[in-house]
Symmetry: C2
Subunit: 202 residues, 2 copies
């Protein structure tokens, strides 16, 4: 019963050098030519690799790009297993959103990241992987910080945390996707407005 799916390749004999070369080439190329002009042939050529080696291990160019980001993210996680929690929710949120603004404005990550996000909108399989491996864990950190605020009485206990996360991080992501101007001042205003609400407070 060696029939797994089709003809699953032997992961034990996989070339780590080729794998890394492919991910690196994909990441660099998408930054240079954009996602639309990114091709498997281009990645293979840049990586010094046969096309079949890519097709053997990945189902699509979106999946390659996803793995490139995953490798990047896993190379630097564990360092921040939680969002800052000084006891001042508004200040902590501003800190986090400002950092996000800086990251999204970094030209090294801007285009590749946008390309990945757009591809995810079109590929359900990729969206599932993204939700599980990258977005999900991050969202859990955000919700955990909000739960802490609930325990401190800074947020109501009955608050819908998913909606709260969408209200806080959604506008930033939306404006970034649309290539709008992202500033720290904008991040601050989002936090203030989302926390206080549009209506005047007495």
């Amino acid at each position: 019963m060696t029939t797994q799916r089709r003809k699953s390749p032997d992961a034990a004999r996989r070339s780590e050098a080729s794998r890394r070369a492919i991910l690196t080439a994909a990441f660099e190329l998408v930054g240079e030519v954009g996602y639309a002009k990114l091709s498997i042939e281009g990645i293979a050529a840049r990586a010094g690799v046969g096309k079949q080696t890519i097709y053997r291990w990945w189902p699509s160019k979106g999946a390659v790009l996803f793995d490139a980001f995953l490798a990047l993210a896993e190379g630097q996680d564990g360092q921040e297993a939680a969002l800052p929690d000084t006891g001042d929710l508004e200040a902590d949120l501003k800190t986090v959103l400002r950092a996000t603004v800086d990251e999204l404005n970094d030209p090294r990550y801007d285009e590749p990241m946008r390309a990945l996000n757009i591809e995810i909108l079109q590929d359900p399989d990729l969206a599932a992987a993204y939700a599980e491996r990258l977005d999900g864990p991050m969202k859990e950190l955000k919700k955990e910080r909000l739960r802490s605020a609930q325990r401190a009485g800074e947020l109501p206990g009955g608050l819908d945390l998913d909606l709260a996360v969408e209200l806080l991080w959604g506008p930033l992501r939306a404006r970034w996707l649309e290539r709008g101007p992202l500033t720290r001042a904008y991040a601050d205003r989002i936090v203030e407005t989302a926390l206080d609400g549009l209506r005047p407070r007495n």
Copy 2:
């Protein structure tokens, strides 16, 4: 000085029948096969039109799709030159967002509209046209309703109306783009939470 750009075609002699056939074919095809498999050749074949007729008048398949939506929108505007204004902001916003939910859930428009929105994220020219012709006017209607609420004292005068619009309509759009579940109850909760803010009110 008849040198406009390159060799601009004579709009006066343009075939209206071909134009309509192309837009109709594009709209139908994108609903049937999806944007990724939508091709200029396919549109031309379905419309009974030469490929050159498409390339003569549009720069990309995204532009064709955009015009298809523009024709649709212009065929039914003027009917609602303003958002409802009963004097109760929260109720009016819920009415509008619920209607938006219904529209986004309509399978006739869902896929084509998402395809257009995704394409706009990748094409700055298209994004500019979209902002000017479709999104801009709609956003102005939204801001006008919020201004009315400011005059009525339902919203503070110093409120950033652009941010307010993003906070109210952003989450809906984001969830729709990601194919999340859109319900009227969700629309209601957005309005309530955005108006009241995340923090407890006394």
